[in-house]
């Protein structure tokens, strides 16, 4: 399949045509032509490298009523993603080679995005003994990221061992930093508002103290640490301090922690219930500043679909989580691009090359160069759209952005050289699966 993209604006501002053939970019420059190529007019569109989400919940196996690898992959593609890392809290838990291979092969079969499973750190996410990290690393899924996400590896000795052990396989621990004792029953950010609303508080210190402990552990044993969904200003300070000391720590922030504040909890609308919780305005601004200055390395969605009934109830009873794949790029634009803090070149870094590097995913280090893998998205930053369930393509509609206006729209997504999104709409599942099979056969 040959695709000719004309007049795209690269993240650095250069304007170019892109010729894609057999999964790679074969030519760049202006005035390109190719007989028989599918032409895509990208005039006015920004070409971004295929987005990579280091933190997605695909729910399969076990929670298919919430999401499947297929539906989550479609949600990712429409958001401009070409690769997602799928969290381990499935049922059965992704703590053995069998489960991670199943998830990876489902992703490959559907073909919308590359699905890289994340392995559990501890068996059954129970926080007691290490999972079969080596077996997962050496499996066909080649797992490099390990996380008990949703739960914190709170036992300091177990965390130390995990950090050391994954080093053996070139892996990284992605920690969900939440002291469990300090957050028993926690429902929202702890502060004046939680006191007024009578909701049990989730104090910032429960996140910051675990991050502080973990960066010191990582330094002590010489391991790599990745901090999931940083949410407080204090956490940004701790990570900044750790990086200044040369500790090998990376960190992510979610789109919602870049845009939304705890004030949204006031109406007890459970769409705004998420873990870690929405924080104060000053925390949001600290995340933006941290992302802009490199303290926070990447944006990751923490896409967490839930069935309706998990949200149609009282706040305390509602599940934590928001869907985020479909809206991530627009929210990042609203939070840090339109506010002048970052450029699209920075966006390409925090949503593509850097998450790929942290997750040891190859093919994302030389975007738009001749010979590079053809994973990219064409994005129209000039449009603005009323965000509604029409824009959601996974199973979950638990989006905090419904009824909001968001900037930008992904018009085209190309994964491994074939289109998964065309004219702002998902390409049919059979066509994508066929294209994926061809790509595999081609090698």
């Amino acid at each position: 399949m040959t695709i000719l993209i004309t007049g795209a604006t690269l993240p650095n501002g250069d304007r170019t045509d892109l010729l894609i053939d057999r999964g790679v970019i074969t030519e760049t420059g202006s005035g390109l032509s190719s007989a028989g190529a599918a032409r895509i007019d990208a005039d006015g569109l920004t070409a971004l490298p295929g987005l990579v989400d280091l933190h997605t919940h695909l729910r399969e196996p076990g929670f298919e009523q919430s999401e499947t690898v297929l539906t989550g992959s479609r949600a990712a593609a429409i958001g401009g993603f070409t690769a997602v890392f799928a969290m381990a809290n499935t049922s059965p838990v992704a703590d053995t080679a069998g489960v991670v291979e199943q998830v990876a092969s489902l992703g490959a079969e559907h073909g919308y995005v590359t699905v890289r499973p994340i392995g559990a750190v501890t068996a059954g996410l129970a926080g007691k003994t290490l999972a079969e990290i080596g077996a997962m690393a050496h499996s066909r899924a080649a797992v490099r990221v390990f996380s008990d996400d949703g739960l914190c590896v709170s036992d300091p000795l177990l965390m130390r061992r995990a950090l050391e052990y994954v080093t053996t396989f070139g892996g990284v621990i992605a920690q969900h930093s939440q002291d469990p004792r300090l957050t028993e029953g926690a429902q929202m950010n702890e502060g004046a508002l939680s006191s007024e609303l009578g909701l049990a508080g989730w104090p910032a210190v429960a996140e910051e103290s675990i991050i502080a402990r973990d960066v010191l552990l990582a330094q002590h044993v010489g391991a790599r640490l990745h901090v999931c969904h940083v949410s407080t200003a204090g956490s940004v300070d701790v990570i900044r301090w750790a990086k200044a000391r040369g500790i090998a720590v990376t960190a992510e922030v979610t789109p919602h922690h870049l845009l939304l504040t705890e004030q949204l909890v006031r109406g007890y609308d459970s769409r705004f219930k998420v873990n870690p919780p929405l924080r104060r305005e000053e925390d949001v601004l600290a995340q933006r500043a941290g992302l802009a200055d490199g303290t926070i390395d990447i944006v990751a969605t923490d896409h967490a679909p839930h069935p309706l009934e998990s949200k149609e109830c009282a706040w305390d009873e509602a599940a934590n989580g928001m869907v985020g794949l479909e809206s991530a790029l627009s929210v990042v634009q609203a939070a840090v691009v339109d506010t002048g803090l970052m450029s699209f070149a920075d966006v390409a870094r925090v949503l593509s090359s850097k998450p790929a590097e942290i997750g040891r995913l190859s093919g994302y280090d030389a975007a738009f160069e001749v010979g590079a893998h053809a994973n990219l998205a064409l994005y129209d930053p000039a449009v603005s759209r009323a965000f509604s369930t029409e824009q959601l393509h996974g199973k979950g509609i638990n989006s905090p952005y419904l009824a909001r206006t968001l900037p930008g729209q992904v018009m085209t997504t190309i994964h491994d050289g074939y289109a998964t999104v065309r004219d702002g709409r998902l390409v049919d599942a059979d066509e994508v699966a066929d294209a994926a099979r061809e790509a595999v056969a081609r090698g």
Binding site: A192, G198, A200, Y268, C313
Partner: protein, 317 residues
């Protein structure tokens, strides 16, 4: 008034109006026939997800004195479980034609969720939600204070300049929250006293003063001392060492009672832990309003149901 979800949204005029309607309702209780036809044909559902016999029978008595039909729905212990329960229950009650739903729920905000959900069209009265609010309790407390201070001339008056000290587990108390907003709206000066562990974070933003020492507070000669119930489960969660130390530091014992001005009121929302937050002498003294609070509760709830269901004051709240 469409719903009564919290006292935070009430203006001074609205609050005074509710108290005045409650005065009218209290007059009914003095009659030989304690019943008004005002809500004949209306259906009031008491939807209790959490046990509270006192509050439920108070609402039941209030509705019945207004001639409404009353249905008691105890969701606790029934087949209703978590998750969809609130939605399903609400839709069931809507299908049965409930005009007002009085909700007690263990989750903060559950009445607000019901009011905004579109699952049911009835007026919602918050009868206590988690650790959020208990607005009718605060209204009956304000009513009780006003009656004690002003007697027969209470109508139309607020609580300007009245000093109220609330003592105990502010952190978990929906009674305290509703009282803080309502009493200060009515012009009272509220002082909170508790161990630091039971003072909510961010209380600096509240329109109150805060102290840790009950003796200091009593030396300030407050017009009202309101003691809050200490729940048994707080004992084991490191909020304070044990009941003995709590009673010694923050209990209204006989010695502290003796130091309180003779005219000061001693209030408690009940049920009381005698010997823990309040001594038997304090609870039974002439200064105690505990039983008046119970009686006034019916009048307040009559007023709220009447305002909700009679359409007497559209646009309020």
């Amino acid at each position: 008034m469409r719903h009564l979800l919290s006292t935070k949204g009430l203006t001074r005029d609205e609050a005074v109006m509710i108290l005045d309607v409650a005065e009218d309702m209290a007059d009914v209780a003095g009659r030989e026939v304690k019943k008004l036809p005002a809500l004949r044909g209306k259906t009031v559902v008491n939807l209790f997800f959490e046990d509270s016999t006192r509050t439920r029978i108070s609402f039941e008595a209030a509705a019945k004195r207004l001639s409404a039909d009353v249905i008691n729905f105890s969701a606790k212990g029934s087949s209703v479980s978590k998750g969809e329960s609130l939605k399903d229950t609400a839709q069931t009650l809507a299908a049965m034609g409930a005009d007002a739903v009085v909700v007690r729920h263990q989750a903060s905000g559950a009445p607000s969720v019901l009011a905004q959900s579109g699952w049911i069209d009835a007026g919602i009265v918050n009868a206590g939600d988690g650790t959020h609010e208990h607005p009718t309790q605060a209204l009956l407390d304000a009513f009780t204070i006003r009656r004690r201070l002003h007697g027969a001339s209470a109508r139309g008056r607020d609580l300007d300049g009245v000093t109220v000290t609330i003592v105990g587990d502010i952190l978990h108390s929906r009674v305290a929250r509703s009282n803080v907003w309502l009493l200060t709206t009515l012009g009272a000066r509220v002082h909170l006293v508790a161990p630091a562990t039971l003072v909510p974070l961010g209380v600096g933003d509240w329109p109150v003063s805060v102290g840790y020492d009950l003796d200091d507070a009593i030396a300030g000669r407050p017009d009202v001392v309101m003691m809050l119930r200490i729940q048994a489960e707080r004992m084991n969660a490191a909020f304070f060492p044990n009941a003995r130390e709590y009673a010694r530091q923050w209990g209204l014992g006989d010695e502290r009672l003796a130091l309180l001005p003779a005219a000061s009121l001693v209030m408690h929302p009940g049920p009381m832990n005698r010997g823990l937050e309040i001594s038997a002498q304090a609870a039974d003294s002439a200064r105690s309003t505990v039983l008046e609070q119970v009686a006034n509760g019916v009048s307040i709830r009559m007023a709220v149901l009447y305002l909700l269901l009679s359409g007497a004051s559209e646009g309020l709240g």
